[in-house]
């Protein structure tokens, strides 16, 4: 296989892995303040406690792989998105330490402070991921020197903002299903209602986003003629979305979780198809777009990295399976848990 395409696909897998895995813990964070009692918030944080760090590594590895395989795209995107990415970093920092610090004291204001910071940081991080994806779909003002020439205002246009909202809706739904799996009793009953609500919001935003995308940015489907399997993904996407309420209704929350994971994976795939072969589309001049060919590392490095990926990924998948297996089941708070 063409090494450039291999790396494009691998980055897609890393991104999808990140969106599915960190998606649910970001979603739990977004919903955090909806839990009113201290004990419920403890359950929320403990539900993702052992897992969020490993989930975030998918993002770190995505960043490292982008740097290694497509340094020009990494350099352009990260320097072009300077302030949004700084805010993303602050959000990720606060998320991490809020979980670590929250329960170390009994004081109400202390817990309140870290609760709000945890939830706000999760919301902001999700929103900014969405904005970044929206900007990638829409294209960025890239000049002939492979630099993004954009002010903060240029990056916050309606379409990227819409994708930001969409990301929040998707992760909130994904997170609520995850929470349903991890809780029991009265709390679980309440989360059952949240699942319906977040699903309703998600479907509404999903349909609106799809229409806007197809009307405003029709080029996203330009590869569909030559890639018939893309239609299959669209179909699977719709089926996965449709299966979420079905599974919830039938009392099979795990099926709903798998469906929402598939939905996120399919959306990542469609995002990839919309971009291909560009990594960042230049809105100034299509010639200046950063593609998987003109932004790439040398063939030798791509080949070398392919070996590293083949050696490493089986281990990564093994760890992931082991950890999720060890921490399966409901969250249990003992007498001494926070």
């Amino acid at each position: 296989m063409d090494l450039h395409i291999f790396w494009f696909i691998l980055l897609g897998i890393l991104l999808a892995g990140y969106a599915i895995l960190d998606g649910f813990d970001l979603g739990v964070g977004i919903l955090h303040l909806a839990a009113k009692k201290d004990e419920e918030r403890r359950i929320f944080m403990n539900s993702i406690g052992p897992l969020w760090d490993g989930n975030e590594v998918w993002l770190v590895t995505f960043g490292g792989a982008l740097f290694a395989a497509f340094p020009d795209a990494y350099a352009a995107a990260f320097s072009g998105f300077y302030l949004p990415f700084m805010f993303l970093l602050f959000a990720l920092i606060f998320r991490a330490v809020s979980m670590e610090f929250r329960s170390k004291q009994e004081w109400r204001w202390w817990r309140r402070l870290w609760d709000v910071s945890f939830s706000a940081a999760s919301l902001l991080a999700t929103f900014l991921f969405g904005v970044a994806v929206g900007n990638s779909i829409q294209g960025l003002p890239i000049n002939a020197d492979k630099e993004v020439v954009a002010t903060l205002f240029d990056l916050l246009q309606p379409y990227p903002l819409l994708i930001g909202v969409f990301a929040v809706a998707a992760f909130a739904m994904h997170g609520s299903i995850y929470l349903y799996l991890k809780t029991e009793g009265e709390l679980q009953q309440r989360i059952h209602r949240w699942m319906w609500k977040t699903f309703g919001v998600f479907v509404a935003v999903y349909m609106f986003t799809t229409i806007v995308t197809l009307v405003q940015l029709p080029y996203v489907t330009r590869h569909f003629a030559e890639m018939p399997f893309a239609w299959v993904v669209v179909l699977l996407n719709v089926l996965a979305v449709a299966n979420i309420p079905r599974a919830i209704f039938k009392g099979k929350p795990f099926g709903a979780f798998i469906s929402s994971s598939c939905t996120i994976a399919a959306l990542t795939f469609l995002f990839g198809i919309a971009l291909f072969p560009n990594l960042i589309t230049s809105s100034t001049n299509p010639e200046w777009s950063l593609t998987i060919y003109n932004a790439a590392s040398s063939e030798k490095t791509l080949a070398l990295m392919q070996i590293i990926a083949f050696c490493g990924m089986p281990f990564v998948l093994t760890y992931t399976v082991i950890i999720y297996w060890v921490f399966k089941g409901k969250v249990e708070l003992g007498k001494f848990s926070y």
Binding site: R42, M45, G49, P50, D53, G54, E56, V57, V60, T61, G63, G64, A65, F67, A68, A69, P71, D72, Y74, A75, F78, S79, G80, Y82, L83, M86, L88, L89, F90, I93, A96, V97, M99, E100, K104, Q105, E106, D145, E147, V149, S297, S298, K300, T301, L304, M305, I308, A309, G312, M313, F315, Y319, T320, I323, V326, F327, G334, F336, S337, Y338
Partner: protein, 484 residues
């Protein structure tokens, strides 16, 4: 200093990397101690070592979270502030960074979950395995990042492609890149620095308990384990430092000259300044004490052959002398002090009077600041000594910055990092302090685990998740008891 994008980006990188580097060496060092403690528990089944492992795991988890939170910043910053550098080195540096993610980060973050939360979910053997994997993962991550840094110091296994702004380094030989001239020396020194820090951190807390007459048995045993590690690592760091300095003399003579404040090459042996005040304009070191010929002897094995001075380096390629000189000398001085301190402690430990010597225990409570500072200063020396190059002899630091960036943006982010890190630092100190005040769960009150009662008690402890949650709160009632 001008407040341009280059200076501000350097300032931000220095701020964020120095803050970040408080934590990784600490977790690498504590990781080794955890492996020793839990291994001893599995071997002896002495519950004291179990409670010891649990206590240090809690301390470890706080530091690990800080390391993760501040570490992700570093990966972003290469792209946000140093885009031209990223384009130049992506082919080389990016592969090391990606390898770090795939081989190291997944390993440590995955098994950290079992280490911290998995006490009652997996068997003791599986738990011990996880502890080993976390420790191994943290060492792996240092391997890859140190390789990447060393390549910047002593590039190897690459060729240059393209011209002007389009020029970049591409890998020609992966293993030559990995084993570039300075990577293994630097790695050894970095890891030893981490082991020393972890051990002194543990000894600081143990000494505090000994002085307060709390958790006596726990504290003494922790101290002994950590002292062993610290002594071996401190002595090894001296040897590894000597190797490394020789390497620097060979590969980066400008850096060594700056370290030593060596301005004029001269014709005879070069002295070594134990301390002094470098005077750049006057090309001399003031108020110093020098040992004649010692630098020549250390570098060449011959006290009469001169060492290359700064006068042989082109004007525009000389590193800032004062910062290099002071940071390097402070690191060396702290290193020597730690060797003396550990040897003294070993002597008294052997005599059996160590824990009664309150002045020494008091010294150990604060001695942990030494390795913290030495780790920082070592890196300051390594990085400032490389200037004005970002990649030695290939790319200047001023050419590595993102061209699309404006100073106002960087200033904004520096201020925000400053405020956030200050806050985090305060909370980190506060949380660590409360964990230390709380102390380990006393194992002494529990009978031997081989009896039925012991097994029950042990099972009850296992069912107590207080010691096993990253986010667990301590019980205020035991807190009060402890404080009395």
């Amino acid at each position: 200093m001008d407040f341009d994008v280059v200076s501000l980006s350097r300032l931000q990188f220095a701020l964020t990397i120095m803050f970040h580097y408080l934590f990784p060496p600490l977790t690498i060092g504590l990781g080794i101690l955890l492996v020793i403690m839990e291994g001893t528990f599995l071997k002896t089944r002495n519950v004291l070592y179990e409670s010891m492992t649990k206590f240090w795991t809690k301390i470890y988890a706080v530091n690990f979270a800080m390391g993760v939170a501040t570490g992700i910043v570093m990966e972003f910053e290469f792209g946000t502030n140093w885009a031209s550098y990223s384009r130049f080195v992506g082919d080389v540096f990016g592969s090391a960074l990606a390898a770090e993610g795939i081989f190291a980060f997944f390993l440590e973050s995955g098994f950290l979950a079992v280490l911290v939360f998995g006490w009652e979910r997996v068997s003791p053997r599986m738990h011990f395995f996880s502890t080993c994997m976390v420790s191994l993962g943290s060492i792996f991550s240092s391997v890859w990042i140190v390789i990447a840094n060393s390549w910047q110091q002593t590039p190897a296994g690459y060729h240059l492609v393209g011209e002007g702004l389009r020029m970049r380094a591409e890998i020609t030989d992966f293993w030559e890149m990995v084993f570039n001239p300075s990577s293994m020396h630097r790695l050894g020194h970095v890891l030893l620095g981490a082991f020393i820090l972890g051990a002194f951190f543990a000894m600081s807390i143990a000494a505090f308990y000994i002085l307060r007459k709390r958790h006596a048995e726990f504290a003494r045993r922790t101290f002994t384990i950590a002292l062993t590690v610290a002594t071996i690592a401190s002595l090894a760091a001296l040897i590894s430092g000597d190797f490394q300095a020789k390497k620097v003399a060979e590969t980066q003579p400008a850096k060594l000259a700056a370290f030593e404040g060596h301005f004029v090459t001269g014709t005879s042996g070069t002295p070594l300044y134990l301390f002094g005040i470098p005077d750049v304009a006057g090309k001399k070191v003031d108020a110093g004490i020098a040992i004649p010929g010692l630098l020549s002897w250390l570098v060449h094995g011959d006290a009469d052959i001169p060492v290359t001075g700064l006068d042989q380096i082109p004007e525009g390629e000389r590193p800032p002398v004062a910062a290099s000189f002071y940071s390097y000398h402070i690191m060396v001085a702290i290193g020597l002090f730690l060797i003396l301190l550990t040897l003294l402690a070993v002597y008294y430990r052997w005599r059996g009077t160590l824990f009664e010597r309150r002045w020494l225990m008091r010294t150990f409570v604060f001695a942990v600041l030494g390795p913290f500072a030495a780790n920082q200063m070592g890196w300051v020396a390594a990085e400032v000594g490389r200037q004005p190059w970002i990649v030695y002899k290939l790319l200047k630091t001023s050419e590595g910055v993102s061209s699309s960036l404006v100073a106002g943006q960087v200033l904004t982010s520096i201020i925000m990092f400053g405020v956030i890190y200050l806050l985090l630092f305060a909370v980190w100190v506060y949380v660590l302090n409360s964990k230390i005040q709380h102390g380990p769960e006393e194992a002494g009150i529990v009978p031997e685990t081989t009896t039925a009662a012991g097994l029950m008690a042990s099972a009850a402890r296992r069912a107590d998740p207080a010691g096993s949650s990253l986010t667990s709160a301590h019980d205020p009632s035991t807190d009060k008891k402890e404080k009395e």
